[in-house]
Subunit: 399 residues, 2 copies
């Protein structure tokens, strides 16, 4: 069994944590000086463990193993959300370094901008050939609107070629990540073997009514957009549980009401509603159910209702063999203290899954905190995850 | 029957419309130069029709009839919402002038700031002794926060005494107002005799859940404040129709969701919910029903629910005799073309009703437009309303 140096692994994580340190977390937004420093730090570490590092025109860092034969690709991302946690992304990249250090035939990747400062999974999509040139050319900062090209130039990346992965080189992709939830913690588990990354469908449901004064307009005359929106949500609340899978989640997190004034009947209400599941058949069934619900309320109600799919990301099941290797390793290193679970959040692994076998491993998140500087995992659980990952990688490379 | 000069009445309305003209409407916010000019214009007109005008320290204008015996008080307000209609308020004040001109024993009042730029019915509450000194001292502009005292000083009103009405002087109060809705227009009616002004109860319903990521949090773990809020609204939607009166209205016009982001389960949702009815017994019944609904959802749901009455204004039924006089006059001048109806909106008459008999008459609103510069009523319906009002006033003064 490959011997991994968990102390060195933790030391590397803490060293990376110092770059852009913010309280107990880090602040390394994509292409910031801190982010670029962390990419250079990573390349230096790659050289130390015998990988040949390269950084491309988007800041993607790839460290290639020099030996012959098929490799595993291991990685994640290295930039962070603003004032965010020290493990999100960094954990999967530093784990790749540790596996290379242990002599395993792995390439290590840090995909740029998984956190979406400038776009949607720009780095992993670019490296897998899934990023249209027009989208890349038009990309801007999500908040400031600054063109991506400007940020790349300032970061010294302008003009560099873009790296493209060769799927034939790889047995598959492994990503270690902190769980962004409390399922492991609630279940008292130390490790989570990911069954797959859920697909998400996001819808915009709009109710158009008639803005009126609350006092002067009788109930019979009203076209109250809040009432229509509420009736849609009520039917979802009633009927979704009869049609979902065991782990489906569904959420309306945003409702925009116009004018949203206490004494005015709303003329318009727009809801963003989404559901996620590991099974595309479940997602299809729920899409059809949602359409029926909106249609039904539209027929009964005096408001006009519209349903539009705003975005979708396909479900990405884990590769059965890689997943089985992780399960077996988890049971060896943490018997009875691990569980299989879907990933409700989106990861680079979802993009990689389109071109090669993929599997993921989760560490527990203390209190489920994510995208916040106080995010954390116990160090013994980080070390355990590395041992499981190395064991599974060794197994997968042997097959 | 008293002969009213409807041509002069319309001419006065158009003259007042020129002060602060905005498109086809007017812009005379309380204590603006335009508002003060309109108050001086009103005092000059009062003198012309034989009333003794006075303006008090809040800008209230009262024109007293010099003759002996009991009077009717007739009026409304003269300032407007921003860029609002030419009739709202002005109609009731100018109608009073026309009644005085026709020789009827009326006092005419323009109550300051009915439109709430600096407070809640400041003028009519002050003149009826219902405005606490502390509230007056603390009043500020609703948007800018400018202290009322500053605005009064700039308008030249500082230091003037406040007028107080003597209820014993009056047979009652009559207010002519444009309907702020489409009931008259929809029914093809030319005049509305108001049965009373509805009482309103306004509640703040708060659902406190747990903010979480939509992907990583299972349905079983969630405390989704939007779901809890929606369940309250759904029960209201289901049960209120079984307990309301024939003209009750109920509305949720505002929902504040935190953080109101598509991918985040809401941690908090605050709804402003209100209902209005002419009958206090109905309002009491609905208050109790709402409390039961919130309690029921609170018991079933994982969120914590809170219900708080934010404000209430009592229902003000019209005085039976004054109301009967208006009905009789309406039937004489517009047989079959008038209807009895509650006022869903709030008026100075509601405040006056606490100290003297009150009745109101509505003119139709073209398209139901209110608080907008395009507000309008057909001139023949304005003239008709004046004839009905004068006839009823003469009848009431004769009793």
């Amino acid at each position: 069994m490959a011997e991994v140096d968990t102390a060195r692994f933790l030391a590397d994580l803490h060293a990376l944590r110092r770059i852009g340190a913010f309280r107990t977390g880090v602040h390394r937004p994509t292409y910031s000086p801190q982010d670029m420093e962390s990419r250079r730090w990573l390349m230096a570490r790659m050289e130390e463990v015998g990988l040949a590092p390269e950084m491309d025109g988007l800041g993607n860092v790839l460290g290639r193993h020099p030996g012959p034969g098929r490799k595993l690709l291991v990685g994640s991302h290295i930039e962070t959300q603003n004032e965010a946690g020290w493990l999100d992304g960094a954990l999967g990249v530093v784990a790749g370094l540790a596996l290379a250090r242990a002599g395993l035939a792995v390439d290590v990747a840090a995909f740029a901008d998984e956190e979406g400062h400038y776009g949607n999974m720009l780095g992993s999509r670019s490296m897998t050939g899934a990023l249209p040139a027009e989208e890349l050319a038009a990309a801007r900062h999500a908040v400031t609107g600054r063109p991506l090209a400007e940020a790349l130039a300032e970061a010294g990346l302008a003009g560099r070629p873009l790296l493209r992965l060769d799927p034939a080189r790889y047995r598959g992709f492994l990503e270690l990540h902190i769980e962004q939830g409390t399922q492991l913690e609630s279940a008292g588990m130390r490790s989570g073997v990911v069954t797959g990354i859920v697909g998400a469908r996001v819808f915009r449901i709009t109710a158009i009514g008639q803005q009126d004064h609350t006092g002067g307009t009788t109930m019979a005359e009203r076209k109250d957009a809040v009432v229509a929106a509420m009736r849609v949500l009520a039917l979802i609340d009633e009927r979704f549980p009869m049609h979902v899978g065991p782990r489906t989640v569904w959420t309306c997190g945003r409702i925009a009401i116009e004018p949203n004034q206490p004494h005015i009947i709303a003329g318009r209400a727009e809801m963003i509603f989404q559901f996620r599941d590991i099974d595309e058949a479940v997602l299809d069934r729920l899409s059809a159910l949602l359409a029926r619900i909106v249609q039904e309320v539209g027929r009964r109600d005096r408001c006009t209702l519209a349903l539009e799919e705003a975005s979708r990301s396909p479900a990405a099941p884990a590769d059965p063999a890689l997943h089985a290797a992780l399960r077996a390793a988890a049971e060896r290193h943490a018997p009875g203290a691990w569980m299989a679970m879907p990933s409700g959040a989106i990861h680079d692994a979802q993009v990689l899954a389109r071109v090669m076998p993929m599997a993921m491993l989760f560490t527990p998140s203390i209190g489920g905190i994510s995208h916040h500087w106080s995010e954390d995992t116990k160090e013994e659980d980080l070390a355990l995850a590395l041992r499981i990952l190395a064991d599974a990688a060794e197994q997968a490379l042997r097959e």
